[in-house]
């Protein structure tokens, strides 16, 4: 009896040993490509973009996986450049921008057609924009377009105020402090200004309305209005015995001058607006299909698209197949016949599919850090390029101990970010609010401002350069100054007075978030003697808590750029209810940003933004950790797929190369 059962155990051990051995053998084997590398027989790209797309209506989802799909299905006024994402002509052939950068006139190409053959005209864009802002559409990305005049008012169901048959104007009721933020000094006489340099465009009635001084907009809800009066007593007289006229879709600053000319008027200067227009929210939706089928317009049998591809088949949670759109204006240059977007969520499953040759490429951040060293040698396939994706720890500035600047600085200085980036393998250390990868011009402006501030502060260049870098000595000193003395006993630090058990480092459940948190926790433990408890939370539990700044201690903030401009990051701390998650609010900072954004010279604007960034960083509203990199793979036979900073691909340039001699070798070269 005994003999038998031990035999079984021995057998089990043998199996385990065998599998260990086999695994070991496999990893040491080395070949040029990772797994099966055989191009598909048809001109087809099999791609994993992430989980199932929420909707095929470009105005609904806000995620990146969907954004990539929309790049195939819908084409906007402008498109992302496949390599660096700057806006390039698409349905708009050319455009003119007003001197103040608050008005854009687009000239549309005349050969652009929907997939059902109907021409795409300026009125399609007007329809799409109005639909996007309509409250019934409940678009979650509509906020991106609030720069368009009266778009916010329309979206929020606000009303104009009419008294004695005349619309009241905003400037007459603005409270003293707000007047400054809303209307910068160098903006005295908008009426005299010529809108757009091109004089060929006729003046229209609508344009006169939209360029007239801002009307007063108040909430459509009576209770809200009462609240507004409390804040701004000047409004009281305005609201008495007045007529309230709802803001309609027709009032927003979008106008079809003729079939192929579109004019967009903003409420303020927004130099980055052109780049923003490539976002899915601004891509045209087919009026003909939406009005005919209503909610069901996105079904494969009803959907009409404007991009290089149209929907072939949609099996939710499995695959979305799109095929070449023969009516696309540039169809002769579209090389792929079909793209299959698979919905797969597990990272390991994606890697397995890739290795088995079932997919040709996949989206960013899909390779776990532990695999990176394994993948790096596959120089023809592994793409790790700079990205506009940042990681911060927000700190609750409304509660002790992080209401104290010195504590915030101490926690920042005690993290060795170089080691952190090295540990994460695909990331670079981050010391500011915005990552350096956003634009080289901004980088220049930032270093100029930095040099100026250095001279003012009278420090040596070296000291200045390291002021934000890892400095445990200084961190301990700051913590002591804040009233939490750090003690040293045989090589270990302790900080008994710090209320570590009252705070936590919260993050949403995700393996990489946990790894970073554990790393940073260890850093604080070793450098400050503070053991911050970790708290991981299910995503939907975490978000409301962070957004409401209803946590103790620190919380993770991940941010990826909506457009290629530092403002997409600096805006994180803008306004009283911002996305920064720290509860930071400083009217002076807001004013600095407003001023910068109304600056017409781009270089001066960057300088002003850099100044604002430096100002905010002095208050350390959060701890910048790292800036990410793309971290994805493609088979060498997939050409024209570039590792741009947002992993947003222009699919029409992608093709399958069958001749192995022309395959990509060493991806470092493909961006050149």
């Amino acid at each position: 009896m005994k003999r038998h059962c031990f035999n079984n155990v021995r057998l089990g051990l043998a199996i385990i040993a065998l599998s260990v051995f086999a695994v070991g053998c496999r990893t040491s084997a080395n070949s040029r490509y990772f797994g099966e590398t055989v191009p598909p027989t048809r001109n087809i790209l099999r791609y994993v973009t992430g989980p199932e797309p929420e909707s095929l209506d470009p105005q609904i989802p806000d995620g990146q996986p969907e954004a990539r799909i929309f790049l195939a299905l819908y084409e906007g006024l402008v498109e992302y450049d496949p390599k660096d994402l700057h806006p390039v002509p698409a349905i708009a052939e050319s455009w003119e921008i007003s001197r103040k950068i608050d008005e854009f006139v687009f000239h549309l190409r005349k050969d652009a057609k929907w997939s059902d053959g109907k021409p795409i005209t300026a009125s399609d864009f007007v329809y799409s924009f109005r639909r996007g802002f309509a409250p019934e559409t409940v678009s979650r990305t509509a906020e991106l377009g609030y720069f368009i005049k009266y778009a916010k008012a329309f979206n929020a169901k606000s009303v104009f105020v009419k008294k004695n048959n005349q619309f009241l104007l905003a400037k007459d009721f603005a409270p003293a402090t707000e007047a400054k933020t809303n209307e910068p000094e160098n903006n005295k006489s908008p009426e005299n200004e010529q809108a757009v340099s091109s004089s060929a465009i006729a003046e229209t009635e609508f344009h006169q309305f939209i360029k007239s001084p801002d009307r007063l907009v108040v909430s459509g809800d009576e209770k809200e209005r009462a609240k507004a009066v409390e804040v701004n007593p000047a409004l009281k007289t305005a609201l008495e015995d007045s007529e309230f006229v709802p803001v309609k879709g027709e009032d927003i600053g979008v106008e079809a001058i003729d079939d192929y000319t579109l004019r967009i008027t903003l409420r303020q200067s927004a130099p980055f607006f052109l780049g923003l227009l490539a976002h899915q929210f601004f891509r045209p939706v087919p009026q003909q299909a939406i009005e005919k089928y209503g909610k069901a317009w996105t079904r494969p049998e009803n959907i009409v698209t404007s991009g290089a591809f149209k929907v072939k088949e949609h099996k939710p949670y499995d695959v979305l197949k799109v095929e070449k759109n023969p009516n696309y204006w540039d169809a002769q240059n579209v090389k792929l016949d079909e793209i299959d977007f698979y919905s797969v969520e597990e990272q390991t499953t994606i890697l397995n599919l890739y290795k088995a040759g079932s997919i040709d490429a996949f989206s960013n951040h899909m390779i776990p850090a532990s695999w990176v060293d394994e993948m790096r040698p596959f120089k023809d396939e592994y793409l790790n390029f700079p990205e506009i994706f940042t990681q911060y720890y927000s700190m609750n500035m409304k509660k002790p101990p992080f209401d104290n600047l010195k504590v915030r600085q101490a926690f920042n200085l005690s993290i060795d970010k170089v080691a952190l980036a090295e540990f994460r393998k695909t990331q670079k250390p981050l010391y500011d609010l915005s990552p350096p990868s956003i634009s080289s011009e901004y980088e220049k402006a930032r270093s100029a401002v930095s040099e100026e501030l250095r001279l003012k502060s009278n420090t040596s260049p070296e000291e200045w350069a390291n002021r934000n870098h890892f400095n445990p000595e200084r961190a301990r000193q700051l913590l002591a100054e804040a009233g939490f003395a750090v003690q040293q006993n045989n090589n270990a630090y302790t900080c008994p007075s710090f209320p570590a058990d009252k705070i936590a480092l919260s993050y949403n459940t995700f393996e990489s978030n946990r790894l970073v948190a554990e790393f940073v926790q260890a850093q604080w433990k070793q450098n400050l003697g503070v053991i911050v408890p970790l708290k991981n939370m299910e995503f939907k539990t975490f978000l409301p808590m962070k957004n409401a700044v209803d946590y103790d201690g620190l919380a993770l903030t991940l941010w990826s750029a909506d457009y290629l401009d530092p403002y997409t990051f600096l805006g994180l701390q803008y306004g009283i209810s911002n996305n920064g998650g720290s509860g930071y609010y400083d009217p002076k900072y807001d004013r600095m940003l407003d001023e910068a954004n109304s600056e017409l010279n781009p270089q001066t604007r960057y300088e002003k933004l850099a100044r604002a960034e430096a100002y905010a960083m002095n208050q350390q509203p959060f701890i910048p950790l790292t800036v990410g990199s793309t971290n994805w793979m493609k088979k060498p036979y997939v050409k024209g797929l570039y590792p741009n900073p947002g992993t947003l691909h222009s699919w029409k340039y992608v093709y399958i190369e069958r001749d192995p001699s022309k395959w990509d070798s060493n991806v470092e070269n493909i961006m050149k």
């Binding site: 990272q347 695999w371 080691a419 058990d501 539990t541």
Partner: protein, 314 residues
């Protein structure tokens, strides 16, 4: 009364003798006992001899090192010593198993006993409630329990436990996890106990107790439940592994044990991603967990055979 006790002691002795005959069950018992000892004192010993703890990260970042003399089971993605983590993870896993089973035991036994004893309409209603609870997705229950009672809303008694034993917020989350898993795993226990009570309640000794004026409460808890201990113990030993697997499943979904703590389930899940490159990250926690669950299952089967009243006929 006196005779009853004598009879039941010999009954237990009988069962014990039968259990010892079952070699696999004995092996299981030995492995479980060793495992309990290892996870109780192991972490402290490892810390004393090597300095590694389950949350210690080496400054030199020795991530994903294969097993060596310094790190007996290698290190993980973060440079933690896997040996220290397996020991500590085992402590958490076994605690999840035992405490959650205990919670489900208390719930299930009293609920099942009351339903079975009173029978009729009460029984019917109580069992339909069990049916309803069966159909509610337990993942939602876990999410709600963890989020509603986590963070600042942690009940005072959990805080008190954490204050006494240490471990901070991570530990109070783990305690909530015990309760959540216990709260969803008592249903089968209730059914098993109810069935036993139904068949026992009309036997002579119950009638005798009732005739001598023992209260209903006394009959249920002093007479009926002790006589169903056999199936309860058997079922409990089978619940422990299944609760441990449930915890592993929650870890798979990312709502299980919280970092820096780990359980065998979460360690196996971390390891499985790296199985092709760093196999030791899966093999050590995975094999330890499998071995323990094997042993618990064999022990449970052995106990069932030993306590099975049918078998005594032979």
């Amino acid at each position: 009364m006196e005779e009853e006790i004598v009879k039941s002691t010999s009954l237990w002795r009988d069962a014990w003798r039968r259990l010892l005959k079952n070699k696999l069950a004995v092996l299981g018992l030995v492995v479980v006992a060793l495992m309990v000892v290892a996870v109780s004192i192991g972490p402290a010993i490892v810390e004393m001899t090597t300095g590694f703890t389950y949350d210690y990260i080496d400054k030199t970042l020795t991530t994903s090192q294969p097993p060596s003399l310094t790190h007996l089971m290698g290190t993980d993605d973060n440079g933690h010593d896997i040996f220290a983590r397996v020991l500590m993870g085992g402590r958490i896993s076994l605690m999840v198993g035992v405490i959650s089973t205990f919670v489900s035991l208390i719930n299930g036994v009293s609920y099942g006993a009351i339903a079975g004893y009173f029978g009729g309409g009460i029984d019917n209603l109580m069992m339909r409630i069990v049916d309803v609870l069966y159909a509610i997705p337990y993942i939602l229950i876990v999410i709600v329990l963890l989020s509603v009672f986590g963070g600042s809303n942690t009940p005072a008694w959990i805080k008190a436990i954490v204050d006494v034993f240490g471990g901070g917020q991570g530990m109070s989350q783990i305690i909530l996890l015990f309760i959540a898993l216990g709260a969803v795993s008592w249903l089968t226990m209730a059914r098993v106990v109810r069935g036993q009570i139904l068949s026992l309640k009309n036997q002579e000794f119950v009638m005798a107790a009732r005739a001598t004026g023992v209260s209903t409460f006394g009959i249920i808890f002093k007479h009926l439940i002790p006589n169903t201990l056999g199936p309860i113990i058997v079922y409990s030993t089978l619940t422990i592994p299944s609760v441990m697997l449930s915890e592993a499943f929650l870890s798979f979904l990312g709502i299980g044990v919280q970092a820096p703590y780990a359980s065998w389930g979460s360690l196996s899940h971390d390891g499985i991603n790296n199985i092709a490159i760093f196999p030791w990250q899966l093999i050590f926690p995975g094999v330890t967990m499998a071995l323990t669950l094997f042993s618990l299952n064999f022990l449970g089967d052995g106990l069932r055979d030993a306590l099975d009243p049918q078998q005594r006929k032979f």
